[in-house]
């Protein structure tokens, strides 16, 4: 076995892979939340639809996206391998189990991760797959009068099935025609059970990262008296509260918009 293979097959090597893929997924969440904040823009999905088109047509993002998918799969597989090994390390369990001082989330990372994996599969098949490989989505046409900066929205029926996006200017009016994923968001988040599922999944994100973020630093060996409080603060408030809360607000806000119509 080569030196590197041996390293990554060791107990610490497997944990290193968990930590690195986990932290990469954390950075992805920041970008994903930042981009999706466009959903809160009251422009009938103009900015969000343009952003979705950019994401799926900008080659560097495509490359990072595939690294991301691989990270999710590797993180899940290594978690499974490590869990099975850990089970094997204690073939006979204890009769008396007491509440230990270890945090709840640290002891339930597998359960939380399984909820997240289920969520990712459903989330990606409902949006990512539909956007990229299904032809059910309609198109919208945004006409912006460049003199008054007023945008009007209309339906657009493309001439060919290959149509993705067009930008043109006619008589000082900018016309943007783009796939309407925003309508899909509106429709999905008008269903209460779907919104509830998203909110629960974001709860799982919160608890998973409450332990996961600082745990990754511990695994990497990046523990320092001066920096550890910052890692804890960031892991608790940013990844444990702000990020999941920001994501959870999207389905909730869209649900209330749908029932107030």
């Amino acid at each position: 076995m080569s030196e590197f293979k041996q390293t990554f097959n060791s107990s610490l090597g497997k944990k290193l892979i968990m930590a690195l893929t986990g932290l990469f997924l954390c950075t992805f969440l920041i970008v994903h939340l930042g981009g999706n904040l466009l959903l809160f823009k009251n422009d009938q999905g103009f900015a969000f639809n343009s952003y979705a088109n950019f994401l799926t047509h900008f080659p560097p993002i495509e490359v990072i996206a595939y690294i991301l998918y691989i990270s999710i799969i590797v993180h899940a597989i290594y978690a499974l391998v490590l869990t099975l090994k850990n089970r094997k390390a204690r073939p006979v369990g204890y009769a008396v189990q007491t509440k230990s001082k270890a945090s709840w989330s640290s002891k339930n990372m597998g359960l939380l991760g399984s909820i997240l994996l289920l969520f990712i599969v459903i989330h990606m098949s409902d949006f990512w797959y539909v956007y990229k490989y299904d032809n059910v989505l309609k198109f919208k046409e945004y006409r912006t009068d460049l003199a008054t900066n007023v945008t009007t929205v209309g339906e657009y029926i493309p001439a060919t099935a290959e149509f993705e996006r067009s930008i043109s200017t006619e008589n000082n009016v900018e016309i943007v025609r783009v796939k309407d994923i925003h309508a899909r968001v509106q429709e999905s988040f008008s269903k209460l059970w779907y919104v509830a599922f998203y909110v629960i999944a974001m709860g799982a994100v919160a608890f998973h990262l409450l332990h996961g973020f600082q745990s990754a630093f511990q695994t990497l060996g990046w523990v320092h008296k001066k920096y550890q409080p910052i890692v804890y603060f960031f892991g608790t408030w940013f990844f444990g509260v702000i990020i999941p809360l920001g994501f959870a607000l999207m389905p909730v806000v869209y649900y209330f918009q749908s029932i107030s119509k």
Binding site: T7, N86, A95
Partner: protein, 262 residues
């Protein structure tokens, strides 16, 4: 010494490593609250012996909390419910009269039960033999003050050196991981000048042996730190990880460069 405490014990009895074990209930009567937990078991064993029953087998040696021999998973805690003590330092006044106490051995694939509550912890010895030492070659001892060591570093090394290798960390961990023990041994030597020459081969050799013994993998829950009788810190595990990754990824020493390797 006798007292007026009466307790019910549910004790794990197992003939040998191959046999299936089971809980057997015993009465512990006339127990003094000033007895240690092990003395209470001595009283029970004496009555078992008088009845021609097989006494309960458990590990013990110094009975003053420094040898690391005693173990016992008592009511869901290694070394009982109190913090920072070993089972031999646990007094019966911790328990209430009439209480039922469940006593189990350490549960780990790497610590097979020898008999009843006694487990074979030689896996720890093999990890130590793989690299938990420094190689002192010949020559006259130099003046101790010639090697300058900052106080904070010496303190940290000494704190790690208080590990008695009892295995409570493994017993407490939900994954039966030995990383707190191994990291304490690595830290104790790795922080001091005398341990530096072999620092990066040592960590590789000890982690390799730890993996071979079949311990689980740390998930950073911190249960070990909470239950350790010597209050060994979780930061040691971070230090071990750091040394291991820098050894494996950035240095040229191998595990078998360590003096103890073949």
């Amino acid at each position: 010494m006798s007292g007026n405490m009466n307790l019910t014990l549910k004790v794990w009895r197992q003939k040998n490593s191959q046999a299936a074990g089971k809980f057997v209930t015993y009465k512990a009567e006339g127990i003094s609250e000033d007895m240690s937990f092990l003395e209470m078991l001595d009283v029970v064993n004496e009555s078992l012996t008088k009845k021609n029953d097989e006494p309960i087998h458990f590990d013990h040696d110094c009975r003053e909390g420094i040898c690391g021999s005693c173990s016992l998973y008592i009511n869901g805690h290694p070394h009982g419910p109190k913090q920072a003590i070993t089972t031999c330092q646990l007094h019966m006044r911790t328990f209430k009269d009439g209480e039922t106490i469940t006593i189990e051995p350490w549960r780990s694939a790497a610590f097979p039960v020898i008999k009843d509550l006694g487990t074979d912890r030689s896996a720890f010895d093999r990890i130590q033999q793989a690299g938990g030492f420094i190689s002192v070659n010949t020559g006259g001892a130099q003046d101790a003050n010639a090697i300058l060591i900052p106080k904070v570093v010496a303190d940290e090394a000494f704190n790690s050196a208080t590990c008695i290798g009892c295995g409570a960390c493994v017993a407490a961990c939900k994954n039966a991981s030995a990383m707190l023990f191994v990291s304490a041994k690595i830290t104790q030597l790795g922080l001091l000048p005398q341990g530096q020459p072999e620092r990066y081969s040592r960590v590789q050799a000890m982690v390799a042996q730890m993996d071979e013994e079949g311990f689980g993998n740390c998930t950073n829950t911190g249960a070990c730190e909470a239950e350790c009788p010597k209050e060994i810190k979780l930061t040691n595990i971070a230090r071990m990880n750091n040394d291991y990754f820098s050894a494996k990824l950035f240095r040229e020493q191998h595990a078998n460069d360590h003096a103890g390797g073949e």
